[in-house]
């Protein structure tokens, strides 16, 4: 083999690294801490996943720029599950067996969370699920930093019923998120002496809502609650507007905006939809403005920052806080830190993890879509995940491993 200048230089370079390495332990940082993540970066659910992947990269980069954790760098193992549940189980195995990661932050749909949660539990790999969901997961290995129905669904229902009336029509995605959320909707409506006229469920690939829109008009509800998920279900809002319904029956949603639906629809199509959640880009705090400025600097465009991207960022920062508090990544010590009421200040406000449920108390914004923005109507500080707390007490039963549902 002829030795060119380039191969010679690179060989010299790598041997220089090899030689210098043994002399570095004085400042050595040991092996990096491995953070695993599985998110849908393509496919039907990529409207959720892409900004979450960016938020993950940004959080890890910021932690590393600040010197890492415990003097060690953080190494990110990011996998794209392509909106395919089978890939979640595959990559979960890969993360625990091949990569041997120290913590996992990932999963978007509740179906994906349930596909991987037991794998991480069996492998004793701590798992953070940073997405709004239907509540009730009671598992000491699983930390949730997204909102639950008590936090985000109840305020919407409460406000909508006061404003519009007590007859409700529910549309929900046909998997565990939609099914359980629909039960919570019914629970909160009935608590307020209202009636759910009908609940319709739709598989994630349904894109034709013609018969449904006619049926809603036949039922004449005071408002419609939409717990719809993914790109195909976006057609509902489009077809609803195309038939001129936006001015006839108001809409409330438990998911709208989380996938930046308000940007995909024109202002005429989206205006007036009522939602509640942990985050809006309109939050007027230094923490949020600074976060958006850093995002702008890294990615050049903040339009796509949505609630669960912020949740993912906050989840990683909360985990980092616990690692600092514990002074180790050893599981039991870290769990102790997790269960000593850690809290961080994120772009969406305080995130305070509760020991009893491993869920977080969060600031909740009641919002209305206006001119492709999520404008804030009211803010409730530190709303607790009281739905899950009704059933779940991990301090008393640390070996609990199930998801509770509301009885209707």
């Amino acid at each position: 083999m002829a030795i060119s200048r380039r191969t010679l230089l690179s060989a010299a370079g790598s041997s220089a690294v090899a030689v210098s390495f043994p002399f570095r332990p004085a400042i050595a940082q040991g092996a990096p801490i491995k953070l695993g993540s599985i998110l849908d970066n393509s496919g039907n659910l990529d409207i959720y996943g892409k900004p979450m992947v960016m938020a993950t990269a940004m959080a890890v980069e910021e932690l590393n720029t600040a010197g890492g954790l415990l003097g060690r760098k953080i190494e990110l193992k990011q996998y794209d599950s392509q909106s395919d549940i089978a890939l979640y189980t595959k990559f979960a195995q890969q993360l625990v067996r091949e990569d041997k990661v120290d913590v996992v932050h990932g999963g978007i749909t509740s179906a994906s969370r349930e596909a991987v949660r037991q794998t991480f539990r069996r492998a004793n790999t701590l798992y953070f699920y940073n997405v709004l969901y239907e509540g009730g997961v009671c598992d000491r290995n699983c930390m949730v930093t997204g909102t639950t129905p008590a936090q985000a669904v109840e305020p919407v229902i409460d406000h909508a019923m006061k404003q519009w009336g007590n007859k409700i029509y529910t549309l929900a995605a046909d998997y565990n998120y939609g099914q359980i959320t629909a039960k919570w909707v019914q629970h909160y409506v009935e608590q307020r002496r209202g009636t759910v006229l009908k609940t319709d469920f739709f598989p994630l690939d349904v894109a034709d809502f013609g018969s449904t829109i006619a049926k809603i008009q036949e039922a004449q509800p005071n408002f419609v609650v939409a717990a719809l998920v993914g790109g195909a279900h976006l057609s509902f809002f489009r077809q609803w507007a195309a038939s001129g319904m936006t001015k006839k029956i108001p809409l409330a949603s438990t998911t709208f905006g989380v996938g930046n639906e308000h940007l995909a629809l024109s202002p005429a199509e989206g205006d007036g939809i009522l939602i509640a959640g942990n985050y809006s880009q309109e939050i007027n705090t230094p923490a949020n403005k600074d976060f958006l400025a850093r995002w702008q600097k890294k990615f050049g465009e903040t339009k796509i920052v949505h609630e669960i991207a912020v949740s993912q960022y906050q989840g990683i920062m909360l985990w980092a806080e616990c690692v600092k508090k514990a002074g180790t990544i050893e599981r039991e010590a870290l769990l102790k830190a997790i269960e000593s009421n850690p809290k961080i200040e994120g772009p969406a406000g305080t995130v305070a993890l509760e020991a009893k449920t491993h869920h977080a108390a969060l600031d909740i914004q009641l919002m209305e879509v206006k001119g492709q923005k999520l404008t804030i109507l009211q803010t409730a500080k530190q709303r607790p995940p009281s739905d899950t707390a009704q059933f779940c007490d991990l301090a008393k039963n640390p070996n609990e491993n199930k998801q509770f549902e509301v009885k209707t």
Binding site: G43, V206, G210, A242
Partner: protein, 288 residues
Amino acid sequence: MDYAAVVLLEVCYMIAFLALISAGLAIVFGMMRVINLAHGEFVMLGGYATIAASKAGINIYFAMLVIAPVVVGVIGLVVERLIVRFLYGRIIDTMLATWGLSLLLIGLVTLIFGNTAVSVPAPIPGYQVGRYQMGGYNLFVIAIAILLMLGMWLVLRYTRVGLVARGAMQGADVVAALGHNPKTIYMLTFTAGAALSGLAGGVMAPLTGLLPSVGGAYIAKAFITVITGGAAVIAGTLSTSALFGTVNQLVSFASTPVIGEIAMLALALVLLRLMPQGVTGRLFRNST
């Protein structure tokens, strides 16, 4: 009463939808016996052509009615020259080749447009039926389907081109003996089928979000419509579209859209068991 009108309109829309997405396949399969498993991707390409053109500032009607069929027609022509023409009469090989083609097209579109849902707003506002609001664009889809079916029928039945095309499908030798080149006829027919698929994709684009993998949602419905329809291109497509569209929507109204689809598939199974040659293999035997 108003409700009945609403149901009727939704049924008409579903029939129009099935007829539109099946027309291209009906020509390619019904007339040429070529099983084009990339049919769904032709529809998808029509949708992307429409959205890309309308985002570039071109009038949306021009984009869906002219640009989409022309673009997909040209793609169809290229596909016929490069792949399909070597495989006439070899059904299994054609299936394999066109299936590969469908994967290739999904991959290419993902590379170009990204694996992200895109859409355009419907250009027609809603209207009122009694106390119900309806999608105005649905009427446009129904009108296009009627014009398309009428146009295809007139061409196949009353023009020389249509006569030669039908002749070539029945007896290529005879048509060749009369001085026409069957290969040219096959090529043009395949191109026309692709163009019709592109038109369907363009017209449907404002109603549904578009993903590179959306073809899968169309192809199953198009195939059961065409195969249950049988040999006659227009009578077959129309009769099964009407039957499936009605059943699908009525059951959807009575229960949910999911049960509606199941009812349609169950009906297709029963029909094919009773009439293995398709509806027009038993009824309307001398139709076009």
